[in-house]
Point group: C2
Chain length 493, copies 2
């Protein structure tokens, strides 16, 4: 393990390779036999489960219910909403047949040509179309509104270049789809869910985010407004971490979903959709982790505290365990996830390195001398600081330490982010500086031409019109034309 | 609603139609636009979530971890295990292309013929093949064993005749896949998971089950032994509700998965797999529900207690609410799910019928007279008994009532089941009696011929060799040949 750890590429050497290495070495995920699809390994999936549990709770607190809609979507549905088809009816997995048969030699299987579907089915890239086709039958009167459903599921987009967690052909996500009586209510819902995402990112993942609204070019296909949270990775690039869309009446019109208002008149319904995915795990890794491996915020860590006894022989192990058991019990009663690793087929040094690599926030170690002195060694993963402390009051100490780590890694990420946000009014300066990463706040004239030029010149894109400050008018740094606001520009994943 | 309720077909009239009606009227699920695939509506999905939460807990207590494997499986994988291919490489959804393009007129999309996959991909009907292909890289030494993963996911089997929850082309399930060093350990694991399923069915769903082992004919494709839990529906038919398979070394050999034992010699790994699906919701409905609608066991009910205030005017509602709030709070503190329905756009009678239809175990109602008399009306869904009781001590009463309902519906289902289990030694008698349903315990000579004859004559099948009693030798009722055991025979879903 010590050897393997050394093989983890350093961030400064090759950030992208470090990310890929870390995912494999911390046993989060790996490539599968299917192009662009990953296997999420137990440790990676445990992080996703922690995220799901908290997000699900937050969604339900706003009145959202879970449901489940079909994986396969009739091909014709995708072309019902004119804008949507442009964005989503491209790189999709297409089901054309429904049966296999034995090959003539009996050693393999082949597609049965007689089992061709009349209409091809698409593995959902997102579910607006099939859900709005369903909502049509669920919504009749104003009494049926708002209708707010979410589903946790898998989706597929046949990506050409894939990276684990960041961009995979299949990924896991949640997609919320809501229907409302008024425009105002739908717009408010889209913003509410953006706030839920931002809260989750900052308070649970300890990832500071910029909230804002996308430019027209970057909008979700079929949306009138796309709200986004943008996080800064340690290489200064932006990672779009969650989006919430105000869909207007586009889908209601395409799928003919109307309701009778209180005056008994039919009106089209107003819609939103919003989603976050396993990409959040990518954001988590790239925000906090270091050259020793993962750094996980305690609130998302599958194991919050690991305890390693250091012993010679069974008798000493018994003594150490007897002393530790009440502490383990008390920690668990506080809802803290504890792993007691007394396995004897790995050396303590190996265990230490492994839990460091896996980002366990707090590590305790107790040996013979600790037993004599009534002490215990405590290590915090975020700073790697190690301390020998009194065994008395250890439970309280750990509780506070976990809170402290959660705060500290958020503050560290926020300080880093804030130190790399620049106001910039000069395009030449921008072009030079953006190479090193960072978020740039620049006046923009609102045209797609300027947006395209920036992208062509620098690969950077307008991430959003941020809500973080009072907007002032100014001059577009590229065109020199009047600009109503500053936008956030960055290179991104 | 009163009218709609009347439209629920009576069980005695048409059991099958009653089942379909109930699913729609209780808003559990509905047909989707995609053949054989259902939409699971929020109330139905909430039941699934309750099941998932408990099962997941029980799995993890046995040391199982969750993970996620790809949706799509390369076609060639399906033919790697010789028996498996016969069972699963037939009615599958086949992905042949990965891109759509705009049609010439621009109004629709069509499959891009140039985007044909080199090897077709199959939407997983079950994941043994892709998982064992992955396990190959995870297992090297005895230290890596046992490896026990589970995934919660969707699967597809292109069924010709579908019924909501019982048999759908897409369904949700969990599939556990474990790898062990020895045959004994794998066999024990398969039986352990069967016990977990039986415990869950009986203690949580209040569905009594017969545990047993399948005959060779009915085994999972690729298994050496398939263990099953079989439940009896109210029409006397069996519903296979969960299976656990001892796979021997079949998949290890097909995918070349070996480990180095403690003597450093390579050996093939031993395997199990086990699963339950949204079919459990079908079992739940058909075991307990009645002509008034769903009857749900409190431990699985999304809403355990509903409280309906009966009021004239806001002032009275305020008074009733003020009196009820402390009770609601106390119930919730006990972990009981309470819905307080003070909506004023539906009459109390409508609400009562709706919650009855939805199977809410306990309904409370409080009106003006109750307020005067310090009483409250309490109705239990299982027996439909209504009582006016003192408001004092209502929290304790509800707590006990929920336990009582859970027990009562289990006992009722068990009494029904036990009253319809027959020992039978005469084939003519069997043929006559099996028409009315029920479980038949009959001696069987162990041959596939006898099994086929029974099926051809009566549509009934051998459900399992049950573990419920000491086996005795005897004479096969069909062939007259010696028989080593009694098997459970029934018509089934």
């Amino acid at each position: 393990m010590a050897k393997e750890l050394k093989e983890l590429t350093k961030r400064a050497e090759n950030y992208s390779q470090w990310f890929n290495d870390l995912i494999v070495k911390a046993e989060l995920a790996e490539q599968s036999a299917v192009r662009g699809c990953m296997v999420i390994k137990p440790y990676g999936y445990a992080i996703w489960e922690k995220m799901q549990a908290q997000l699900d709770k937050m969604f339900k607190e706003t009145g959202v219910q879970n449901a489940y809609f079909p994986l396969l979507i009739p091909k014709s549905f995708l072309s019902r909403e004119a804008e949507h088809v442009k964005g989503f009816a491209k790189e999709c997995a297409v089901v054309t047949h429904y049966r296999l048969k034995a090959s003539e030699d009996g050693n393999s299987v082949e597609v049965d040509p007689s089992a061709r579907l009349e209409e091809e089915l698409i593995v959902r890239p997102t579910s607006e179309t099939i859900i709005w086709n369903t909502y049509k039958n669920w919504i009749h009167s104003w009494r049926d509104l708002p209708l707010m459903c979410n589903q946790w599921c898998n989706v597929m987009r046949w990506e050409m270049r894939t990276r684990p967690f960041l961009r995979t052909s299949e990924f896991l996500w949640q997609e919320g789809h809501t229907a409302h009586a008024t425009r105002e209510e739908a717009e408010e819902e889209a913003r509410t869910m953006l706030r839920v995402y931002a809260d989750f990112a900052e308070k649970w993942m300890a990832v500071p985010v910029v909230q804002g609204v996308k430019s027209e070019t970057e909008r979700f296909a079929g949306a009138l407004d796309t709200y986004t949270i943008e996080a800064m990775m340690q290489d200064g690039k932006a990672l779009q971490s969650g989006t919430s869309h105000f869909l207007g009446q586009n889908f209601a019109k395409s799928f003919d979903v109307t309701y009778l208002n209180k005056e008994n008149k039919p009106e089209y319904v107003w819609a939103t959709s919003w989603g976050v995915s396993t990409r959040l795990i990518g954001a988590l890794i790239m925000t906090h982790s270091d050259d020793n491996g993962l750094v996980l915020p305690p609130k998302i860590a599958p194991i919050q505290v690991v305890i390693v006894p250091i012993f010679r022989g069974d008798e000493q192990l018994q003594e150490i365990s007897a002393k530790l058991q009440p502490v383990i019990k008390q920690l668990r009663e506080l809802g803290i996830t504890v792993k007691y690793d007394d396995s004897d087929n790995k050396r303590p040094g190996f265990k230490f390195a492994d839990y460091e690599l896996k980002g366990v926030p707090v590590r305790l170690a107790m040996g013979g001398r600790d037993l004599e002195n009534n002490t215990i060694e405590i290590m915090r993963r975020d700073t790697l600081e190690k301390e020998n402390v009194s065994f008395d009051g250890i439970v309280e100490r750990i509780k506070h330490l976990l809170d402290d780590i959660q705060e500290n890694i958020y503050r560290k990420a926020k300080d880093f982010r804030d130190a790399h946000i620049y106001e910039c009014d000069d395009y030449e300066e921008f072009k030079e500086k953006v190479k090193d990463g960072g978020f740039f706040l620049c006046h923009w004239d609102g045209t797609a031409e300027t947006e395209e030029k920036i992208k062509a010149d620098t690969q950077a894109t307008i991430r959003c019109v941020p809500f973080m400050f009072e907007q002032t008018e100014g001059v577009d740094m590229v065109s020199g034309k009047p600009a109503k606001c500053r936008v956030l520009i960055a290179r991104s994943y």
